[in-house]
Each structure stands twice: as C-alpha cells, then as structure tokens.
C-alpha cells in the first residue's frame, strides 16, 4: 500500500468530514419533525465496504449515533450477504432502510438509510443516514412507552429492507410505513430529507474519488484508523494501571419499583482498557434494557468526551475490551423492550466518567443531569386531526476542573438543540407558561454543577391531551466528584381538577389525561459539583446569590427520598 503524504492526508480528512457535515445540514434543512430539523437528532457518515467500521463522521452528528452507526451498516452488509445466498443481487442506486434496534442499536424511532457507493463495479464504501422519526406506532404517541414489556408495544420494527432498487423508491414500503404511524406525512418528509442527504453525499464522494483516486483515499482512510488507535493508546497509557470501579442506579424499569444497577470495573493495563459491566443488573421487564451494540456505542461516546482529540472513527475502539454479558440489561436481544435506552446509556456514560475520575483527578467531571425526559403530549384536534408533540429537555452539566457546569445543557449522547417554544406553539395546541433555569438545582462544589430547568406547558386544545413521560433521576441524583455535592432530583407534576399529581414511578408516566387549561410541569436536575464547596471563590458565591442561581433557602424541599450513596463498589 502506498504511503500517503501528510498534506494529502490532512486535505482528505477535511474533505471527507465536510461531506458528512453537509449531509447533516441537508437533512436538518429539509426534515419535517422538529426533533431532526431543530434538535438535530440525526447523523451521517462513511463506512467500510466489508466490515461496516466507521471511516468518517461529521463534526456535528449526534454523538450516540456516531458510535452506533457502524453496527447499522454491518446489519445491512449481513442482509446483502443473505440476499446473495438467495440469488438477490446488490445494484447501484440500491438503498436500505431499517430501524431494528437489536441489530443497529438505539431504539425504534431511529430510522437508518444505508446506501453503497460503487466504483468500477465494486462497493467502495457505504453511506448511511440516521434520523429520529416522530412516531412509529406502538402504544404511546412519540414512541417512549415507559411501561412496555415487549418491543411490539413500542412501535413497528422494520428489519433491513431494500427501500430503493436502482434508484427507484419501493412505494409498497412507503405504504407500510404510512400505515404504521400517527403522523405519516412527517415521517415521509423526514425520509425524503434523508434521501436528499444520501444523494448529496454520493455525489460528493464520487467527486472526491475522481479527483484523488480510490487507492489514495483508501490509504488515507486506513491511516486515519491507525492514527485514532495510536492516539487512544497514548491517552490510555497516560492513566495509571489498575482497576477502578464505579456504580450508579436507575430509578426503576417503568414496570416495578426497584432500582437497577449499572456497575463498571474499568481496568487499565499499559495501553489497553477493559470495560467490564458484569456486575450490572439482569435484564429488566420494562424498556430500560439495551442491545450490546448500543452499549459499545455509548462507551465510545464516553471516551470521546474524556479524550476529545481522538478522531471519530473505529480505530479508537481497537485498544478497548468490552465485557457486556447477555445476562445483564446491557446486552439483551429481541423482543426485550429498549425504548428507554437513552436513560440506561446516560447512566453508563456517567459511570465511565466516575471510574476515570478515580484513575486521574485531572480528568474528573461531575455527572451531567443524565435524563432525556422524553415528554409527549398528544391528542385529537376538533377536526379529528392527530397531533403529537414529543420532545426532550435540558438540564445542568457537571462541574469540572475548568469551571462551573453549563446551565441548560444537553446530555453527553447528544448535541441536539432545543426547538424554539414559538415553533412548538405554532405547530401544536399548547402554550408554555414557564421556560426557566431552576435555582438550587446544581450540585455544590468549588465548581458548582450547572442548573437544571423548569418547563411548564398548558394545553390549549378543547379535547385536552394525553401525557407520556419517560425520564429518570427522580430517586438518584447526579453525583458530584472530588468532594462536590449532588444535584437536585428530577420532578414532574401534572394538574388535576383538585390540585397537582405526581407519578408513583416518579419520572415515568403513561397516558395521563389532562383537560384544556391544565398544565404539566417538569423540573430537571442540574449537574453534580466538582471539588470542596468550602473552596469556592467568593466572587462566584456572591454572583450565585445576586443572580439567583442559588436562592440560599437551605435544603431543597420535596425531595421524595434521600439519595443513596454511590461511587464505590459493592
């Protein structure tokens, strides 16, 4: 193989990332549902022809997808091999579609489109697009069914199917998709947006290959992988050898009121790392399980946050060993429900942060708020039209060696932005009555945790609405590190005819009805604190009080249960 010069390498790296970035932008701009268009819950990249390994990712794609996409492409590669055995070929212009979380990771709402790039009669690489569709059937509008006990209650599951054959869309598949959603036109718009993105990516990759030749580009891609691996090994070598354990808990599985344990034993040995999750809880009845591919993807996200200089490709996972037994909730298969996967992986990322903080205090970051709070309000308008508003909320990020945590940030798995409330009010019969920072919600510390938030929404439609929530951190608050305190817990209330109600499983609510004029109220956690609060700078303390970030009323009222001790092995 030719040795590629450093200049061409740098040029190709930039060109390839720009292609993925531009695919992202194309989908954001043409998508229908605000979760993609405004919140950017999507991702694009280029993947290896035979292994599906990630070759190139954009700089803006959603982190968790960056980790999961190689599994999705591999699922299509396997499907093509099965087809081949049956005498069904693969052609130029073919495009596959699927949402099977057990093969491609994450959950049913995430639809993946995968298309081969052909050069000289061979598949050179794969392009893939993933985006979160608004509704895919199932018991709960928006898909986050907090009490699902089987995948079938979470929505329609599509294995890899050929959506486009030689450039022509299979209208039968579109019909099946349309028949299985409460909002078919929204999904249709998003699907077309994803095709737009693939079309653009395909044109750009061909232009690049025409210019530089397959051999040079292949050599560059190989080199990127090697460099990512080398950088990751270098970073791991910087940590002292040893085993570092950390645990955190999920409130419950949405079905029964018992906590779930995510336990990690992280071992550093020279330039390799082992992530052993064997001590975690067994598979649960509710939707807090995840597939192994999702678990691996989320560890990738955690390590990328700790070592941001490592390029986003498969090479950075080479020095890592994963122990994720099928006997835990982190390695389940169909039809175990996985719709709440976000909550489980947020806890996994947290325990990786916690274990790394023990290995190297310089890298210690307190827990971010750690729940996506998937809230759906849904109903029928007077004319019978279905409406589904589904969105995810912000919270505080953790205190860290550099400073306080960010107020109203997003979780580690996502860079999704918040849809403007004016866009939501224009699209759905709701009115926000509060959209504010939540004082006292950040963990105390030399560097305080960022603040969580308060969102209050009134339903305007005559027919009222049904309310669904899938959230966490109602019982176990985001932890502090290096002596920092914990953040406030997640809280959710809805208005009833005679006051206010909360859910027995705290942040998991299925199908509560509220009337016109009644409100729901979500209060999200802040981030944990970093360092001893006694060492906090005076000017920061004064500012906290003056600006009302801390209202200094002492302990938070209303926390239903004392948070359990965490952070040490059982």
């Amino acid at each position: 193989m030719s040795v590629i010069d450093p200049v061409t390498l740098a040029v190709l790296k930039g060109r390839l990332e720009q292609i993925a970035d531009e695919m992202d932008a194309t989908l954001y701009r043409s998508a229908f549902n605000p979760i993609i268009a405004e919140a950017r819950d999507a991702c694009h990249g280029l993947y290896h022809a035979t292994t599906g390994a990630t070759l190139v990712q954009g700089s803006k794609g959603l982190p968790i997808f960056v980790g999961a996409m190689s599994f999705a492409v591999k699922a299509v590669i396997d499907k093509v091999a099965r087809d081949h055995a049956l005498g069904v070929g693969l052609d130029e212009g073919d495009t596959f579609l699927f949402n099977d979380p057990y093969e491609g990771g994450t959950h049913l709402n995430d639809f993946r489109l995968v298309r081969p790039i052909w050069r000289d009669g061979k598949v050179f690489a794969w392009l893939a697009s993933v985006g979160h569709w608004l509704d895919i059937g199932g018991n709960v509008p928006g898909g986050f069914n907090a009490s699902a006990t089987e995948s079938f209650q979470e929505g329609v599951r599509i294995p890899p199917v050929k959506l486009m054959a030689q450039g022509r869309v299979n209208e039968d598949i579109l019909a099946i998709l349309a028949a299985n959603s409460r909002v078919p036109q929204s999904n249709y718009g998003d699907l077309n947006g994803q095709i737009n993105a693939l079309d653009l990516g395909e044109r750009r990759v061909h232009a690049l290959l025409d210019e530089y030749g397959e051999e040079t580009v292949t050599a560059a891609l190989d080199t990127f992988g090697q460099r990512a691996e080398a950088l990751m090994r270098e970073n791991i070598r910087g940590l002292p050898d040893g085993t570092y354990s950390f645990e955190d808990y999920l409130d419950n599985d949405g079905v029964s009121d018992a906590r779930l344990t995510i336990a990690l034993d992280l071992t550093i040995k020279s330039d390799t790392m082992t992530l052993d999750f064997s001590r975690s809880s067994p598979p649960c009845a509710g939707p807090l399980n995840i597939a192994r591919s999702t678990a691996v993807a989320c560890c990738y996200v955690a390590l990328k946050h700790i070592f941001p200089d490592v390029p986003a490709n498969s090479g950075c996972l080479a020095p890592i060993d994963f122990i994720i037994p099928e006997t835990t909730l982190l390695g389940v298969s169909a039809p175990k429900p996985v719709g709440g996967y976000t909550e489980t992986i947020l806890r996994m990322i947290g325990v990786v942060f916690g274990a790394i903080a023990k290995a190297d205090p310089k890298l210690a970051t307190a827990a971010f708020f750690g729940t996506i709070n998937a809230l759906s309000l849904a109903g029928y308008r007077a004319n019978g039209a279905r409406w589904v508003m589904s969105m995810f909320f912000g919270g505080g990020l953790g205190g860290n060696p550099k400073g306080d945590g960010l107020n109203h940030g997003n979780n580690a798995i996502s860079t999704a932005t918040m849809p403007p409330l004016e866009i939501l009010e224009a699209a759905y019969p709701v009115m926000f009555t509060q959209w504010a920072l939540r004082p006292d919600s950040g963990g105390a510390g030399r560097h305080r945790g960022g603040l969580g938030d308060v969102y209050e929404i009134e339903v305007l439609d005559e027919n009222g609405a049904e309310v669904f929530l899938l959230g966490e951190r109602g019982r176990f608050a985001p932890f502090g590190v290096a002596g920092g305190g914990e953040a406030a817990l997640n809280r959710f209330f809805w208005e009833t005819d005679d006051g206010e109600a909360t859910a027995p499983l705290v942040s998991k609510v299925t199908g509560v009805r509220i009337r016109k004029g009644q409100k729901v109220r979500l209060e999200t956690p802040g981030g944990g604190g970093w360092g001893d609060p006694a060492e906090r700078e005076k000017s920061r303390i004064e500012r906290d009080t003056r600006e009302g970030y801390v209202e200094a009323k002492g302990a938070r009222a209303g926390d239903p249960l004392p948070a359990a001790k965490r952070g040490h092995a059982a």
Binding site: P6, V11, G14, Q18, I19, T26, R29, S30, F32, N33, A37, E38, S59, P63, Y188, G189, N192, G193, I195, D199, L200, R204, R227, A230, L231, E234, K304, P308, T365, G394, L397, G398, P401, G403, G405, L406, N407, H408, G409, N410, T415, A416, T417, M418, P419, P420, E422, I423, E425, A426, M431, F432, Q434, W435, A436, L437, D453, L460, E547, Y549
Partner: protein, 692 residues
Amino acid sequence: MSASGTRAPRQAGIVGVDVGGTFTDLFFYDEAKREFRTAKVTSHRGDEALGFLSGLAVLGPLGDLGAIVHGTTVGTNALLERKGARVGLITTKGFRDVLEMRRRDRPHTWGLWGEFVPVVERSMRLEVTERVLADGTLRTALDPEEARAAARELIKKGAQAIAIIFINAFANPENERRAAEAVRSIWPNEHVATSSEILPEIREFERSSTTALNAYLQPVVGSYLGKLEDALREGGYEGDLHIVQSNGGVMATSTARRLPVRTALSGPAAGVIAAGAIARAAGRLNVITGDLGGTSFDVSLIADGHTALSAQTTVDFGLVIRTPMIEITTIGAGGGSIARVDKGGLLQVGPESAGSLPGPACYGAGNTRPTLTDANVVLGRINAERPIGDKLERLDVEAATQAILAHVGRPLGLDAPRAAEAIVKVANARMAGAIRLVSIERGHDPAKFTFMPFGGGGALHAGALMREVGLDSVLVPRFPGITSALGCVIADLRHDQVLTVNLALDGLDAGLLNRHLANTNRAARAVIANAGVVVSRIDTVFDLDMHYVGQTHTVQVRLPPEVDGEARPVDEAVVRDAFEAAYRTQFSRLLPGVPARIVTLRTAAIGRRPHFGLEALAPRSGGNDARRGTRRVWFDGQWRMTAIFSRLDLPVGARVEGPAILEQADATTVIDPGLVAKSDAYGNLVITRSPR
C-alpha cells in the same frame, strides 16, 4: 486651497476609513480629479476616534471632504471582549432565562466543559404579565404600569439600555409597543427597543439574542459615533458620516445608532465589497476572497457578481445575531498560527496563535514556538529585512529556524527548510479547506472562480491555493492592505426589512402579498432616499422564505425585482415556479402533494453609488525599474535563485514568470514556479498557470 476660507464644493472627495486592531487605513478619492490618496496610521485601541482623526489630518483639511464612510470594529470588539453596555431586559412572565438557556447547545460536541455568561445578567432581566399566542391572539394585555415599574427598577440598577422582548411578539407586536411607550414615558431616550422592531421573526432565542446584543452595543457604538461626529464638526467637516453594515451596504449614522448590531462585521464586509468591485472591473464575476491576517483566514464567495449573505451568525458561543451578514467563513489559520506535531504524529498548524504579541518567533518578543510567518521567513518568501508595519527593523531568521527545528523538524525528521515547507503546505491545506467549504461544498465549481487575496498575508499563499483547490486564477489587488478602506468608498447603500407573512401557496392571497411587496418596497426605498448620500438609482430585491408545511426551515426564494420603483405584482404560479426551482437547487427531491407556505418576506432596498473608476488606481506610465535583484527562496524541495520586484513599479502589461517575489509596503506576493503574473490595466496582478 486653504483650510479656512472658501470650502470646496460638496462631493469633491469621499474618504473610506477602516479602523482595524493594529492600523487605521484611509482611502481618499477625489471624484472630480479622479485622484486618490491613501494613509495608514496606528490605531488607538479604546479611543478609535483618535486614529480616525489623525488619519484624516494626513489627507488634508476636513472642510474639503464631501463624505466619510466608515468600516468599524468598535461593535465587533465590544462583542468579543464583552465590553458592551449594562442592559436591562423586560420580558414575558416565565421567560426571563431564554437568553441564558440558548438553544441548549454547548461549546464543543466532544468534551462537556465550558461556561456561558449572557450579556444581560439574570438580575437585570425582569418579567411582566402579558401573553400573545402563536397565531397573534392577544391573550393577556400588558398593564403599562407593570412595565414602568420594571423599567424604574432596571434604571435604578444602572441600566444604560432597555430591551423589551415578549414571546410571539413577531406575530403581534401590540404588547411590546405598549411596553416601549410606557418605558419611554419615564425614560425618554433612544436606548429603548423592542424585539419586534429589531427582528420581527419567529424563534424566541434568536430574536432575544439579536435584540439584547443590539441593546448591548447601542450605548457603546452610539457614543463612539457621537464623539466622532463632534470631533469632525469641530474640525470643520460639514458632510455626513456613514457606516458600513455587516451585509456590505452602507447606512446612515442615525440607522447605525438604532441598529448597531448591524455593524458586527462592518470592517471585513467592506473588504469583501471592494474585492467584488475590483474583480468586476477586471471582468471577473465569480470570486473567492481570502483575507489572511495574524490569527485568522476569512473567506467569502461572490457568485455571478453577488456576495453570499448568511441569515444568521454566531459571534461567540451563545451570542447569536440574526441579521443578513456577508457570509464570511473564518478559520484559525493566520501568520501567527502555531505549528506543532500532535501525539498521533500529525503536523498541525493553528488554531492556536501567537497573535501580534508576542507574535511569531522571528519577532524576537519571547515566543519560541514556530508560526506560519516563521516558515515563510525561513523559506525566504518574506523579506526579513523589510517587515510589514513600523514596529520592527528586521525579522530574526535564526530564531524562526530554531523554533521550526525544535517543534516540527526534529519530531518529523526533517531539516529546517523542509519542515518549514511542510508547515506552509499544511496551512495551505487548511486554507484550501475553508475555500472548499464556501465553494465546492456548496456546489460551486472552483475552476470558474478567481481567488482574490487581501490583507497582509494572502498573496503569499494565493498561487498555491489556486493550484490546490483548482481555482481558475488569482487576482491580487494593487493595494491588498487597504482593500477595506477602498470598500467603504465604493459600497452601495442598503436597507433590509423583514416581515412575517404566513401565507399558504395553494390558493395564494396574491392581493395581500402584492400589498406587502408594495408597502415594504416604499418603506425601504424611503430609508435610502433620506440617507443623505448621492445614489444613481435605488433597486429593491424581494426574497420569500418558503417551505413545505411541516418543515421548520425554509428556502430562500427570489422574486422578480421592482420596475421603475414599483413592486412587480406576482401570482401563485410565479411564486410556485420560483419555490420549486429554489428547492431543487438545494435538495434532490420535491414533495408533490405536500402544501407549501410563504413564511417571511425579506425586502432590501439598495442605493447604487455612482460608478467608481478603479482605473484611478492604475500605475502611471514612466515609472521606475521594478527589478530589485535576486535572493535564495525555497520552492518544492530546493533553494532557487529568485527574482525580486518592487510591485508598485511594475507597469501595466508587465509579465513576471515564477519563481519571483513581488514586494510592496503592505504585502508580499509569491509567484510560484510554473505560474506567471501579469499586471492588468488597473494595476492588479493576475496570476495564472504558465502556458505549456
């Protein structure tokens, strides 16, 4: 002619003044005599008016000047250094944290560290009871007394400006108007503004941020302009002062005082305008400009003679300005960018910069890490004996060599010139990436574009960038260093208006749309007509933001321009064709059967300035011999004896074969081997590949 006594007729001369971080550049043009003069004086950070006036003094008596057009970085610096005014904000109950909560973004995709401090402190953001719904319904009317009480408290806390920002005010500004009236009744001054005046568009964070930043800049920019006007008056100047906007159009000072947020990119925008005019005069309509300074490389694209405008710009994390600005892509690659070898063994240049202080290693001011400028010095491309500016006698080649060897040469096993060449190549690759981002990645074929470098360093790398990106040619303006000041002189006047219209395309209410077109046309033209600057004519352009119902983003759809000052009526078919054509340019698939909608009408009135004869810049015949001998310069892995020329002494039609170096006071141009440069009728250098 004397300073006192009779004044020369108005419009005798126009001065462009660009106040930058290091230098204030001035370009004076006498339209009657077709003569120009330039001046370069040291800027005074913090008292920009001082440099401004001392520069004007160099050009002659103030009373002789007809008009002054100013590109300013006062607004830019106030934003970047967080030195704006103390702002008070009055907002809808429940929403005082919108400005601080942003869109829930974070500074970096990877890595969860970083803080955000909003420009309006939380204790300066007060809430009042009021509410408008998304469709414009007034649900809760404002009690003016509540707004007055909030204002009193903010004034007591030291507010210098008050911004009023209510939810859904774009759909119905009634409550905001009442609040403004109430506040002005107890605090009558120009520093009270509402979000529906500043940006009547959906998306509360973007509208809040733009309105708050406008208020943040208003006292600062206003007091600067006031001081400037006073000083000019005292000096005997009786003409008007005008300001370049971020979109490259010129506005009256009164507009700048009201909408200072439109000056955020004033200086760089003027440069792009000049580059466009120079290129047009040279017969080139497709141009990519590249301004290489000390820490950044700013790229902009002009296609078919039109400058690309972006609707929204993020000045810094969480500081969003939504107003049309010239689309300027900035990367952290400049003369001061530091080169290093990363842990994976990859050579990186920038974004970390040595800035102008301590500056590159060759400045001898304490920095020992190699920069792009050091590489150019070591390779002999920059003349170490004649540095740009008036600060240094000479550059320290030895210090540059040692820095390169220590941080790049030895880790990569390269000698000094080879390591320096690698630095230049990697920097070129990054700059080429920025050029691709604005061109290839948006579907423009680079082979159709001329590259125009300006600023101090652009012309050092222009030939290499042309080759790497596959651009057609390079056009080096005659005075790369004063391009922005020249831009002030030639920029057109411009006024932009936004109106949320929300009309369905199916069964379009064409009557209503045409009334909107007629009204905004008249209003925008009136602003230009009243600006007090001579224009040869006023053009109005109309753009619709449209989408398929269900999408949240829009595509920009250009409508036919006005004719003889009147908006041309449109109908459903005209709008549909324009929408589908615009949609297709951006996306591969139309969505037949899905209804479309017009969201916003954007109207821009442009006052065309009288033609500026760029031939005034051309070299005079009978100049000096341009040759200045030879020196050793490194090209493509070897030292070559290279001809050195004095750029400004090259006559029209002169032809220089590479390798060659062309020197002038404010810039150095490198002609790489295999390239050839020709001086055109305007004194520009046109660099192309050698035939054969």
